[in-house]
């Protein structure tokens, strides 16, 4: 029986103690949930487990044998397979090549010349994809995939390996319920085959449904062990934050009011017109690769998004008070730049005159926002690349709170954000709309979408495929209908 | 139809070859011949390619100043096989494909410069050498001759030796370092006039004008003027223009059937204060 043990692991980055004396273990046939606030050290821990980082102190043991890994390749050789939080695919390679990259099937041409067996490769990729119910063509270049599709490719890549220990770091962050369910089926099947699974997520309801045990990290330390379900959300949150939160999962907004007045945003799509009024939160729903990203970029004035944009260019859009939080952090943040510079990047004109930036005012604004969104560590000069995933997402959001906005275009705005911060961001979004701002919100998290939106437009392959107006039937069942009919 | 001569010079930015090119063009015009140039820029393989292009173009004869004595052999042979005569100018090769050679004795020039320094420094003191680009045959031969010449003067010694590209900037920079490292040098040998002119600026800036002998080579007009005004002490007039003309003449005769035997020599002249007036370029 596989058993992975972690004993007294510590790891620091510069001044940050990311892990401090962490010990835990997981056995084959178990799903261990690992939860904690943004920056708690979850990703760092599993990066050590899979051979990406070397620990400062402590030991990892697999079946009692000490394990000293120097690369993920060695980890995989030992049966430890990872789905990392940051989605990395090789854009120039096909879906099939990406899935099988670590172990490409080879044959011999004429009995001597080694060559990739492309037929076998396609078949193998296809079978893994089918496993998780994804209809991606194996020959599609990965660079052409949407964010969620790439996430599925990365998952398929891990599932294609013979795993003894499978580690999933927020695998469902941008997935829709349907994909999540399929993934869970696979995970349960693997558990039945006595694979050990470590599962990280901020969607605490998933933990409830999937995990056998649960470990809570805070500031790099294990603060709680729970050895069997159920895992009440309230207790988990208390352990994560050290505070008691007033039911953070509850629906925070009463939908159903379409504000009066002419639409502030309006674009013609194939299949109808998309509109958003002042004070409205206009939701966008859609299954995989629906074209939500393209629509938001177009609303923002990105010249490459296809179709006419309301503002002509991004500069004009920003000047007119529009802000975009893209679904992909890498598109929003300059990773090599500091938190501080990233936060003011889109509003430099307001924070500088011709000859110098107003450093004092920038410091003030940045300090205020870091406090407000609880961006940790509180070091404005740290390069964004050194933040945890959730804290990066907060910076992406903070960018648009630094100056007055009229319109916010949000693509998966709470992707990877912990439950407390998520509630905070929801509050902000609602307050923004209440003050007359317009919000276009695309989210694969249906509860979030339903909780926040006034109206929901459904997209399919870039077309407007349906629209849900406020009313009695406004709800999950109806939305699901819309999403899945004719899909 | 007019005969066409193909020309492959070692460089098209070195003043020496620019002057030679002028001589070739002038003389060919006088004789009613056409000339086409290919460029090499001191890159051996580029010169070999260029000569082969000239063969492919079926010129009537080729003038070349080979960057390296051996390396052009194959290209010369290709020309010979195609029945095209190749005459080497200024630099020579051992290739059997070489039809004639308008020569200079590089080693002898080096020895002559050394002898001149020995004479004007009273046969005593330290010498710094700023030699030409590494691996270039001409400058290797010059430097060898020079070093041999210095050895035969017991009071002289070479305390600094560096191989650099033939630019004024290099001459300047090297001389600046030389004057710091060896404040007591009596002479700086420059592989060509550009280096000597650069060195003369460093010497002047250090307030040592007239106290350090500076020698160049090629006899380019700015260098001759510098000899006249005392900034540079010696240059060697190779008369590249005349050389180019002689090359064309030799080729014209060869094509008419008058094959020269062996080498057609051209003389070099040391130009210093004593004879500079005869070599001054005509004022425009």
């Amino acid at each position: 029986m596989t058993e992975l043990e972690v004993c007294g692991l510590s790891k620091h980055f510069g001044a940050t103690q990311a892990l401090a004396d962490v010990s835990l273990s997981v056995r084959g046939g178990q799903v261990l949930a690992l939860i904690g606030e943004n920056g708690a050290g979850k990703s760092t821990l599993i990066k050590v487990l899979s051979g990406i980082h070397r620990p400062d102190r402590g030991e990892v043991r697999l079946n009692g044998q000490p394990l000293r890994l120097h690369s993920p390749a060695e980890g995989m050789a030992a049966g430890i397979v990872l789905v990392p939080q940051d989605l990395h695919v090789v854009p120039g390679l096909s879906v099939a090549e990406n899935i099988l990259l670590g172990h490409l099937p080879t044959r011999r041409v004429a009995g001597v010349l080694p060559s990739i067996d492309r037929k076998a490769m396609r078949a193998m990729a296809q079978s893994v994809l089918q496993d998780i119910g994804v209809a991606l063509h194996p020959d599609t270049p990965a660079g052409e995939l949407s964010f969620a599709e790439r996430q599925l490719v990365v998952i398929a890549r891990a599932l294609g390996r013979e795993a003894r220990v499978l580690i999933l770091d927020e695998p469902t962050a941008s997935l829709e319920r349907r994909e999540v369910e399929r993934l869970f089926d696979v995970v349960r099947r693997l558990r039945a085959q006595s694979v050990a699974v470590i599962y990280i997520s901020h969607r605490l309801e998933e933990v409830e449904g999937l995990a056998d045990r649960c470990v809570v990290l805070r500031d790099g330390r294990v603060v709680a062990h729970m050895e069997a379900p159920p895992f009440p959300i309230g207790q988990l949150v208390e352990a994560m934050t050290g505070r008691v939160l007033a039911d953070p999962g509850a629906s925070p907004r009463e939908s159903g009011q379409i504000p009066a007045g002419a639409p502030r945003l309006r674009v013609a799509l194939e299949g109808g017109t998309f509109e958003c009024r002042s004070g409205e939160i206009a939701g966008i729903g859609g299954l995989l690769g629906s074209g939500a990203k393209a629509l938001l970029r177009r609303l923002f004035g990105a010249s490459d998004a296809g179709g006419a944009s309301p503002h002509g260019s991004i500069r004009h859009a920003i000047a007119a008070g529009v802000g975009l939080v893209p679904g992909e952090r890498a598109h929003s943040l300059v990773m090599s730049m500091s938190v501080r510079d990233n936060i003011v990047l889109a509003h430099l004109d307001a924070y500088a005159h011709a000859f110098a930036r107003h450093e004092g005012r920038i410091d003030e604004a940045v300090a205020r926002l870091m406090e407000l969104l609880d961006i940790r560590p509180r070091s404005p000069h740290l390069p964004v690349a050194h933040l945890s995933g959730g804290n990066q997402q907060k910076v992406a959001f903070a960018k648009w709170l630094v100056a007055r906005r009229e319109v916010l275009l949000l693509d998966e705005p709470t992707n990877g954000i912990d439950i407390a911060a998520k509630a905070l961001i929801h509050e902000r979004i609602i307050a923004f709309a209440a003050e007359g701002g317009s919000v276009v919100l695309s989210s694969s998290d249906l509860p979030e979408l339903l909780a926040l939106s006034d109206t929901i437009s459904v997209l399919r392959q870039g077309r407007l495929a349906g629209r849900m107006e406020p009313g009695a039937s406004f709800g999950e069942a109806r939305l699901r209908d819309l999403l899945e009919s004719s899909a | 139809a007019a005969q066409t001569i193909g020309v492959s010079l070692a460089s098209d930015v070195n003043p020496f070859y620019i002057a030679m090119k002028r001589g070739i063009e002038e003389r060919a015009k006088e004789l009613g011949m056409k000339v086409v140039f290919v460029t090499a820029n001191e890159v051996i393989s580029q010169q070999v390619n260029g000569i082969q292009d000239l063969v492919a173009r079926k010129v009537d004869g080729i003038l070349a100043s080979p960057i390296d004595a051996v390396a052009v052999g194959a290209a010369y042979n290709v020309a010979a096989k195609a029945g095209i005569p190749v005459i080497s100018v200024a630099r020579h090769t051992d290739s059997p494909g070489q039809s004639a050679y308008v020569s200079m004795d590089e080693q002898q020039i080096g020895r002559d410069i050394a002898a001149w320094i020995a004479k004007h420094s009273g046969g005593k003191g330290k010498i710094a050498m700023v030699a030409g680009p590494s691996g270039a045959a001409t400058f290797r031969n010059l430097a060898e001759g020079f070093e041999a010449g210095v050895k035969s003067a017991p009071g002289l010694s070479i305390v600094y030796r560096k191989e650099v590209p033939l630019t004024r900037e290099m001459g300047l920079q090297q001389a600046e370092d030389i004057l710091v490292a060896h404040p007591d040098v009596v002479a700086i040998y420059g592989a060509n006039d550009e280096i000597a002119l650069g060195a003369s600026q460093a010497v002047a800036a250090a307030g040592k004008k007239g106290k350090v002998l500076i020698t160049g080579m090629n006899g380019t007009p700015p260098a001759v003027r510098a000899v006249k005004n005392g900034a540079v002490d010696l240059t060697v007039d190779l008369n590249p223009v005349a050389w180019g003309r002689l090359g064309v003449d030799t080729m014209a005769n060869y094509l008419k059937g008058q094959k020269p035997t062996g080498t057609v020599a051209i003389k070099h002249v040391l130009v210093d204060k004593t004879n500079v007036d005869k070599h001054l370029p005509p004022a425009k």
């Binding site: 990395h88 854009p91 990259l101 349906g466 | 140039f37 051996i44 580029q46 390619n49």
Partner: protein
């Protein structure tokens, strides 16, 4: 608060498969992919128009001969660039392999000489690869340093003089540099063989795919279990090896080991790869396209010589043609 008409099913469903563009678009897609080839053809057409000798078989074999050495270097350079690297040292390696090869050949015969030349190339490749992949030094600075360093070593070994020996290099070796087979120089056949072998490896084997992965996204490749360091090291070794082969080939062509040989090959070779459509940030490119890039560079120089363009104007023309070729190739990537 009335419910508006729900679901307005629109237009026909797209298939699960992303829809395939119309045939013309497909052909267009392929055509713009062939811009470098088109540029080469235009160049050739123009050269043929301006000089009736350009298409003579003597000249065409000339062009191939002139391309052979650069092509072999460019094979390795393509590996390095696709793998996300950069190799400025190839020019110096050409000289090193030529000189060491010639030196050893004079003492111990042709085979030993050739082997020594190739080994020297591999050795430099190992150094480059180790410094880049294991010490983490930027490829530009690492290979710039070896470019200078190796040139110094060559000059030290040879004392700055060509390596020819008393009697010249062995006749068999000189013959190799001048002989033909089926009308084409042996050097061209050598280049072709190198191309075929390395094209197979790059495009057909798992190792080749891993090079693309390493260059395309080091992080993704690393996380997929690709030994990215070893892969990137290996590309420098390939580059060293091919530069070594090229050095030996050039020595046979120049009938000597030349300490100054190979200057500017690095820039020409990188230019050829980029003209062939590869991206300098890695992960893209095709070996045959790099060869098209080589031919563009060589035909350009050859045709300007044939036409008899003045050498200063040649520079201007070469600059213009390179920009134009690269700009044309960008048409297909236009975005933003």
């Amino acid at each position: 608060m009335s419910r508006s008409p729900p679901l307005q099913p629109l237009a026909g469903n797209a298939a699960a498969q992303p829809s395939v563009g119309s045939a013309p678009a497909w052909i267009r897609g392929r055509a713009v992919d062939q811009i470098p080839t088109a540029v080469l053809l235009v160049l050739c057409a123009f050269a043929a128009l301006m000089s009736d000798r350009f298409l003579s078989s003597a000249n065409l074999s000339n062009v191939l001969l002139q391309a052979a050495v650069l092509a072999v270097i460019t094979v390795g350079m393509t590996y390095v660039i696709i793998g996300g690297g950069f190799d400025l040292s190839v020019g110096s390696v050409v000289a090193l392999a030529g000189c060491i090869g010639a030196e050893v050949m004079l003492q111990a015969g042709i085979t030993a000489g050739v082997a020594a030349g190739l080994l020297a190339g591999v050795a430099v490749g190992l150094v480059n690869g180790t410094v880049v992949a294991y010490l983490g030094v930027s490829p530009f600075i690492a290979t710039l340093a070896t470019m200078v360093l190796v040139r110094g070593v060559v000059l030290l070994i040879t004392n700055g003089a060509p390596v020819v020996g008393e009697e010249g290099l062995p006749q068999g070796f000189l013959d190799y540099g001048t002989s033909r087979f089926l009308g084409l120089p042996l050097l061209v056949w050598t280049a072709a063989a190198v191309f075929v072998v390395f094209a197979w490896i790059l495009h057909r084997t798992a190792y080749g795919t891993r090079i693309y992965a390493t260059g395309g996204s080091r992080e993704a490749a690393f996380l997929s279990g690709v030994p990215v360091r070893r892969i990137s090291l290996s590309t420098y070794v390939v580059s060293g090896l091919t530069a070594g082969i090229a050095g030996v080939m050039l020595a046979s062509r120049l009938q000597s080991g030349q300490p100054t040989a190979g200057e500017f090959y690095e820039l020409n070779s990188i230019a050829a790869v980029v003209l062939g459509g590869a991206a300098l940030h890695g992960g893209e490119g095709k070996l045959y396209k790099s060869m098209v890039g080589v031919l563009i560079m060589v035909v350009l120089a050859n045709s300007l010589n044939l036409i008899g363009v003045d050498s200063y104007w040649q520079r201007v023309t070469i600059g213009l043609v390179i920009v134009a070729a690269a700009a044309a190739d960008q048409l297909r990537r236009r975005r933003r």
